[in-house]
């Protein structure tokens, strides 16, 4: 056990782990991730099987990589917490008493005699220290005055705060990986969908694509309404970079598509008896358009199939959701009587066939189809994310303390020596030696000169 603690608290291990993690990460960017086993076999031959076997096809989620991260976290944890308590004591419960002789082995040191009483000298020392913004603790013991003057004390904890932050971030990553959750919700305008694993629904009120004058996309905007028990509770226009937050979920504009289920149909109607007659009808499936009021003739669209094909039993169905062979089942009526019905094709007008009891004077042509757009909203819930932010704040605070807040410490002992005072001072500031030495000397000169 002690061996393990020593191993895990060693810096050598941290270095080996940093190199291994960096190396593994490089491999993950060289081998394309997330392909199928067959694709790896095709690309790398026999190596392909090794890649899949070692989970290098999803390296960052592989047992090896996660194991490495776990060991790294253990290393940081052991390293930080075995060294934390002496460091905390140094910051919060420092020892004021010290042996004057040991001060003389400090990085910065001084010893001199002052022609003042210990108490008067003490005042001078305190004044000099506070002039340089040191905060001082005092102790009177065995006729000696001990002073501990410090500034930027929090700097001692910089590295520990960084490491704690990293652990919080790794914990956050773990939580995200275990309980984070994401679902894509394709939504047509007006459509309502239950949000998976949530007690509310989301409705797409409006979906807009805004364009720049040059035709490039400026923005996709989905106006979403959250419904709780059928009642709207909030509405927001969701854009890329502007998600909607509700009930621990975030809703993102992630994609969009063309809705070929129910496009707007444009049909051209012609009369065989009157070649000059031509009318454009615009309608959707289920709608009826009157041709001219008096005669009472009307055209309606009964069905739409984006990719028309006949199956074995000669029933029409769609082969895909792409508009490869769009067809509309159209019906012509005179008043209440059906005159004819039949499939008309956009790509193959010559195959359009209208069947009816009587020959109709009207002929139909499928001119154009305008699909509506649907919006794809990603609903995401990630309970780990707050850990990531908290950890990030800790890491940054720690880095700033570690690099820009160098702690300084000066210890002074005043001893009475035949009515005069012997002053011994020693100080250290491992991270800003040069500046500290200059300051230390200034302070000592000030104490020496004071009367």
């Amino acid at each position: 056990m002690r061996y393990l603690v020593r191993l895990f608290s060693s810096l050598r291990m941290a270095i080996v782990l940093l190199i291994l993690l960096a190396g593994a990460s490089v491999i993950g960017t060289l081998i394309p991730q997330g392909l199928s086993a067959a694709e790896y076999a095709a690309r790398y031959g026999r190596m392909g099987r090794l890649i899949v076997g070692l989970q290098m096809n999803q390296l960052y989620g592989s047992v090896l990589f996660l194991g490495l991260l776990a060991v790294f976290a253990a290393n940081i944890g052991v390293c930080t917490f075995t060294r934390l308590s002496p460091r905390l004591r140094r910051v919060f419960k420092p020892r004021v008493e010290t042996c004057p002789e040991s001060l003389l082995s400090s990085a910065a040191k001084d010893r001199f005699q002052k022609d003042l009483s210990p108490d008067a000298s003490r005042r001078e020392v305190l004044m000099a220290l506070s002039a340089h913004h040191y905060r001082t603790k005092e102790l009177l013991k065995d006729n000696r005055i001990f002073l501990l003057a410090r500034k930027k004390t929090a700097g001692w904890l910089g590295a520990d705060i960084v490491h704690t932050g990293l652990l919080v971030i790794i914990a956050g990553g773990l939580i995200s990986g275990l309980s984070g959750f994401k679902a894509e919700l394709p939504l047509r305008e007006g459509q309502i969908r239950q949000v998976p694993r949530a007690a509310f629904e989301v409705r797409l009120d409006k979906f807009d694509t805004e364009l720049y004058p040059d035709g490039n996309v400026r923005d996709w905007k989905s106006t979403l309404t959250i419904l709780e028990g059928g009642a709207p509770v909030r509405t927001k226009a969701v854009e890329v970079n502007h998600p909607l937050s509700h009930g621990g979920f975030k809703f993102y504009q992630s994609s969009y598509g063309r809705d070929w289920e129910n496009p707007v149909i444009e049909m051209l109607v012609k009369k065989k008896s009157d070649p000059s007659f031509s009318r454009l009808l615009v309608l959707k499936v289920g709608e009826k358009a009157a041709l001219d009021g008096k005669e009472g003739a009307s055209v309606s669209a009964k069905r739409f199939i984006p990719d028309f094909v006949l199956d074995e039993s000669k029933n029409p169905r769609t082969r895909s959701s792409e508009p490869n062979n769009p067809a509309v089942l159209a019906e012509i009526r005179e008043g209440e009587d059906r005159v004819s019905i039949g499939w008309i094709f956009a790509r193959f007008p010559e195959y359009s066939r209208m069947h009816g009891a009587q020959e109709s004077d009207l002929s139909l042509e499928l001119k154009d189809l305008n699909p509506g757009h649907y919006s794809v909203i990603t609903a995401a819930k990630d309970p780990g994310v707050n850990f990531i932010w908290a950890g990030s704040i800790l890491v940054m605070t720690g880095l700033l303390l570690a690099f820009f807040w160098p702690p300084r410490e000066i210890k002074v002992v005043l001893e009475e020596n035949q009515g005069k005072t012997r002053i011994t001072a020693g100080g250290l500031s491992p991270k800003s030696r040069e500046d500290f030495h200059t300051e230390f000397e200034k302070i000592m000169t000030q104490i020496r000169r004071s009367k």
Binding site: I15, S176, P243
Partner: protein
């Protein structure tokens, strides 16, 4: 004055500055370095104006394509150089650093880089574009300075070992120290801009703060390398050659994150 004129003017003045710094390098006369610094400062002001004009012209942050981002990176490099030179008084890094700036500016103005002002795609319409990219590139600029001082350290160190060091040469230790300070300055910037702001923005835009996208992974690799630099140095007391080598590897990783990922690997960060 248009943005491209100002860019070109800054480019020319940088070249002049590089010439002056090179003259200083060989003559060791400080007045050359002083003139070089004056030129760099002038070019920096012109370059800043070019970036401001570009922002006004395009209506968005000046780093949404390779040309803009190279121009901004060069600007950040000059800023880092000015800061480091003022603080540590080592004008002799000027020659190499300004040559790198000139190389980036040349690359930016090459015909390979489309310079048209393009409207912003939806994914980039966020103030995080400003924060994420500018802070990251500034951090990388300090890594670049550490790269230059590390190479100069290695050169100075081997000259010293061979005993061919000239008397007027500065001590290699200064270079080593400046490398460390640049890494110590660039590392928090890179962590904040590249990783943390990147995660925040990714979460706002894609719903996942980390996607293991190649650019993210290479940022993490860069971060690992500089973490290695800091740990070996602060805790294990590594200095000199070994530290210099790690700093050089770190900057090359950062450079690959910036360039290589775009041209060699595909992923979500395919804007720039």
């Amino acid at each position: 004055m248009t943005e491209s004129t100002l860019f070109l003017a800054a480019f020319v003045v940088y070249i002049l500055a590089a010439v002056f710094y090179l003259s200083f390098q060989f003559s060791k006369k400080f007045r050359w370095a002083r003139a070089g610094f004056a030129l760099v400062s002038a070019a920096f002001v012109i370059h800043s104006l070019a970036l401001v004009l570009r922002t006004i012209e395009s209506g968005h942050a000046p780093f949404t394509n390779m040309y803009e981002s190279l121009s901004f990176l060069s600007w950040a490099l000059v800023l880092a150089f000015v800061v480091v030179d003022r603080k540590f008084k080592i004008p002799r890094i000027g020659a190499y650093l300004i040559l790198i700036v000139v190389a980036f500016m040349a690359l930016a103005s090459s015909p390979l880089m489309p310079k048209d002002v393009a409207p912003l795609v939806p994914a980039l319409q966020s103030y995080w574009l400003w924060l994420h990219v500018s802070v990251t590139l500034l951090g990388e600029a300090f890594f670049a300075v550490a790269f230059v001082t590390s190479i100069m350290y290695l050169a100075a160190d081997s000259r010293r070992k061979k005993g061919t060091a000239s008397e007027s040469a500065f001590s290699p230790e200064t270079l080593d120290f400046v490398s460390y300070r640049c890494v110590a300055f660039g590392f928090p910037l890179f962590t904040l801009g590249g990783l943390i702001f990147g995660m925040v923005w990714a979460y706002e835009a894609w719903g996942t703060y980390w996607n293991w996208d190649p650019k993210e992974v290479w940022s993490l690799i860069t971060w690992f390398v500089f973490a290695l630099y800091l740990h070996t140095r602060i805790v294990m007391g590594w200095k000199g050659r070994r530290s210099a080598v790690i700093a050089i590897i770190g900057f090359l990783a950062a450079l690959f994150t910036y360039f290589g990922v775009n041209y060699l690997l595909s992923g979500l960060h395919s804007y720039v």
